[in-house]
Symmetry: C2
Subunit: 234 residues, 2 copies
Amino acid sequence: MSETCINCGHSLCARRVPIFSKLDGKEIESVVTLIRRKHFDKGENLFFEGGELQGLIIINRGRAKAYINTPEGKEQILHIFFPGDFFGEKSLFVDKKTEYNVKAVEPVDICMISKKDFQELIKKYPGITSKILQELVNRIDRLESMIENIGAKSVDSRINAVLLEFAQKSLDENQIDSAAQFELPLNREGIANYIGVTRETVSRKLNLLQEEGVIQMIGNKKIKILDKNRLKSE
Amino acid sequence: MSETCINCGHSLCARRVPIFSKLDGKEIESVVTLIRRKHFDKGENLFFEGGELQGLIIINRGRAKAYINTPEGKEQILHIFFPGDFFGEKSLFVDKKTEYNVKAVEPVDICMISKKDFQELIKKYPGITSKILQELVNRIDRLESMIENIGAKSVDSRINAVLLEFAQKSLDENQIDSAAQFELPLNREGIANYIGVTRETVSRKLNLLQEEGVIQMIGNKKIKILDKNRLKSE
DNA sequence: CGACGGGTTGAGCGCACTCAAGCGCAGTGG
DNA sequence: CCACTGCGCTTGAGTGCGCTCAACCCGTCG
């Protein structure tokens, strides 16, 4: 864990964050002075449930998973944070603790802004608020379709949906259509805990999809979608 | 469907809505002039997925369910809106359509504010924005714990959780402890579609809970929680 | 080398689903 | 008032899908 992020020049770092994307050069500068940076190795926890998290955390590089451990000993993954995503917004607006954990699934660099600094930032640049609102609404969207998946769809459909989701987050539009390969953000067990099944089931279904020629696996982590339409149906 | 709401004096109506709770008398007055009211009978749809919904809708009386029909012919319920809850916030902040339906499960009165009016309201009273933010964060909370329930918990636990949720929304704290009865907002099929099981399963589990002395059913719709702790465990 | 984590495969089982029938109650109309 | 109808709920029987448990494989790392 180091305090500096070698890979990003200061202003560049803040500009990559969608929340600040509307600010101009000078404004970005003033934001940058408030930001602290941190690095986490793969497997390290960025945050534990119920912990004190008095600020906003933005993922700058790498991916992280937010998850809950149930009393029954299972792990349910709620979000996969990609670069540009943030969490900790809850502590900014309501007086409640966040009750999930966040763990780096690969090396991760983050930006942090304290609650106090952020509230002043909002006063100065109200445009940020509307960016946050947009992001929250989008997150509600994703959670809702996740519930539809887990609650009402067959296991096959859930696998299909999660593959499409990962592809969309990892590639841009034309890349998906050209069957470019991408890297799964989670291992089999992680995918299983994301869609509410067991790792064995994920394993079997992926092999089945490959046999049917819908996808092609390169090693364990990389995947290529050959027939996007077959994934969309059902 | 009538255009006026007989049951609420104008300012009273707006004051009951948490979003406006921080405004003072005069401010409330100015909000009231923007509000249009509507009534829906049980079973009527307040809103269809993909429809044009250019404004915010606040439930004033009665309860409504938000649900999706899956391609496989199942219905997944996403939210139960109680009086004071709102929906349609999505259309205010992002340029996307809402893709669930909303149906009255009992007679419902609503307040409507158009997108245009609401945006001016926000400019005038920025406090409303923070209320909205709070509510969105709370909603994310609820969706997350819903995913934990459906995805990682046993059917028994899901039934327990949903009963507690309905009790909390219907009663206040001391009432729950004194085992007061309350009315279920959904029938068996509705509960089933909310927690991702079949109606038969709900039926069986409820009877089991009654046999075990954890709950007591009065008719089909009313229920009394006798042993709150047994519902909480697991 | 052995240990370990991640992945795959197989066998068997249990739980919730499916399908089907019957019950009870409310509302309707003769 | 009763018969009729329809809806919601219950109950039973049988089945199938995904889970559990266990073994094994493979590549990596100390």
